[in-house]
């Protein structure tokens, strides 16, 4: 126990690492939802038999962009996207730069989850909304998104938990945060205390995200 408080690395670098991790997860979660949600809606609505079928566009979006991006292992995607991160943020180091590749890595994943959530909305509800004279936008907003909201919150929770894991990986290639701390001190300097503390912190972070997500999802669910 004494070790934890007297450890110079933990005392000096830990607070900063925690903030960096939260920054990376927060920023990339924000952009993932911002882009992934509309993308998921688009994939669902333009699918054959959807609200507004666009077979060719849907094929391109679904097969080419989403599937190709998802089939590249994240560690490789991250390194490959360093030039893009530098272009967008002016640097290839730090949590902000890492958020670029984190977002791009998780957007297709989240879009797929959104698509699945929307597919689970019973078709009769969409028929009912159309028969009562809804526009397509009203069907999307008032029926598809609203009825699948508990599932969408659960999907977001899963995505944020995934981002925590990815952010630790991003730490290795210059993103900073708890991943960097664990690698630089825990692994390369054999500082077992640092390793254990970072692991415990990441587990606690994931638990908190999961619990909060489940609580919100449940409180929205009236089925």
């Amino acid at each position: 126990m004494n070790d934890i408080f007297s450890n110079p690395v933990l005392a000096k670098a830990l607070p900063e690492a925690i903030i960096e991790t939260l920054q990376m997860v927060g920023i990339s979660a924000f952009f993932t939802v911002l882009v992934g949600l509309p993308l998921g809606v688009f994939l669902h609505v333009t699918a054959p038999g959807g609200l507004r079928p666009m077979p060719v566009t849907n094929r391109i979006m679904s097969d080419v962009i989403v599937n190709i991006t998802r089939s590249i292992p994240f560690a490789i995607l991250m390194v490959a996207l360093i030039p893009l991160a530098r272009l967008l943020t002016g640097t290839s180091l730090g949590p902000i730069a890492a958020s670029v590749s984190l977002s791009i890595g998780t957007i297709p994943f989240f879009a797929r989850l959104v698509e699945t959530c929307l597919r689970d909305v019973h078709h009769g509800k969409i028929d009912a909304a159309q028969v009562m004279g809804s526009t397509k936008m009203q069907v999307i907003n008032k029926v598809m998104l609203r009825e699948s909201l508990p599932a969408l919150v659960a999907a977001t929770t899963t995505t944020v938990v995934t981002l925590v894991g990815y952010s630790a990986m991003a730490g290795l290639v210059g993103g900073g945060g708890l991943g960097k701390l664990a690698y630089n001190y825990g692994f390369q300097r054999f500082d077992v205390t640092v390793m254990i503390v970072t692991i415990v912190l990441i587990i606690v972070l994931v638990q908190v995200i999961q619990l909060v997500g489940e609580w919100i999802s449940r409180s929205l669910d009236h089925r």
Partner: protein, 349 residues
Amino acid sequence: MITVTDLRKVYRQGKKEVVALDGVTLSVPKGSIHGIIGHSGAGKSTLVRCLTLLDRPTAGSVSIDGTELSSVRDSEIRAARRRIGMVFQHANLMDSRTAAGNVAHPLELVKTPKDKIRSKVAELLSLVGLEGFENAYPSQLSGGQRQRVGIARALAADPDVLLCDEPTSALDPATTDEILDLIQDLTRRLQLTVLIITHEMNVVKRVCDSVSLLAKGRIIEHGALQDVAGNLESKLAKALLPLPASEPLHGALQGGPVLEILFAGDNAKEPVLTGVARHFDIDLNVLAGSVETLGGQQFGHLRVQLAENADYDAVLAYLHQRGIGAKLAETKTAPGDAAELNDVTGRTS
């Protein structure tokens, strides 16, 4: 008043063309309930989708009080749809909305002011007997209550036509009767034009003023309930007044001719059978029978066996003279007839 004229719908499945509706024509006057009955695959669902413009018909027209619906431009389709209120088999309520929220849904779409929505929703919920359930979610309501919310929602936009697609097929018999009574009551009070699509003959018997039989995309029989039920040759009469299968008796009357007799209206009150027995001085036996009150009239459908030596031609003439439908019972129904109506009669008996 809704008028459907020569409605056709052809789907393309690869290179094959599937004719789902093959020239459907019907018309339902204001304030009355029309039943469309048919087994699965007859084209009922396609008809619903064409009436609500979820699918565009290939040809033909649908008009409400003279306003043509089927040819409106895409931009006007939503306004056209609001003239038809629809009740679904499984109510199709939004789980995320309360009863009041579900009824308010069609009103929100056209930006109705909040206080007007509130008063209209309260009025509709009390109309369907759901006062005090405003804040209940669909998961907290019974099947019958959910269907009542569905009916209130269908009426929210003040439609001229109420289209009910199998409204009671997912409900138990007691709840079915409650919902049908509600639909009948609302039809009279609000002077609605109601179309009920169903496979349950019971629904037709209980609330419909007129009925159409849909088979293979065509209406093969239609008419006022009393007219179709009083016609011995009608397939709908067989379904409305079903006779259980019965073997000729092997008793005193063995080998005697078997007649099918259909009384309708005032004839049903006459003591016809004893009249036959006395007039011809013969014995007779009832093998099977079905007696019902349909559209306020009494109907009786009987299968009767006469004594072996009876002159059945004379008996038939005697019955026809009194305006009673009668014929020699077929030993076997034609396979075509049986197949077409099996589904309908099977589920009601």
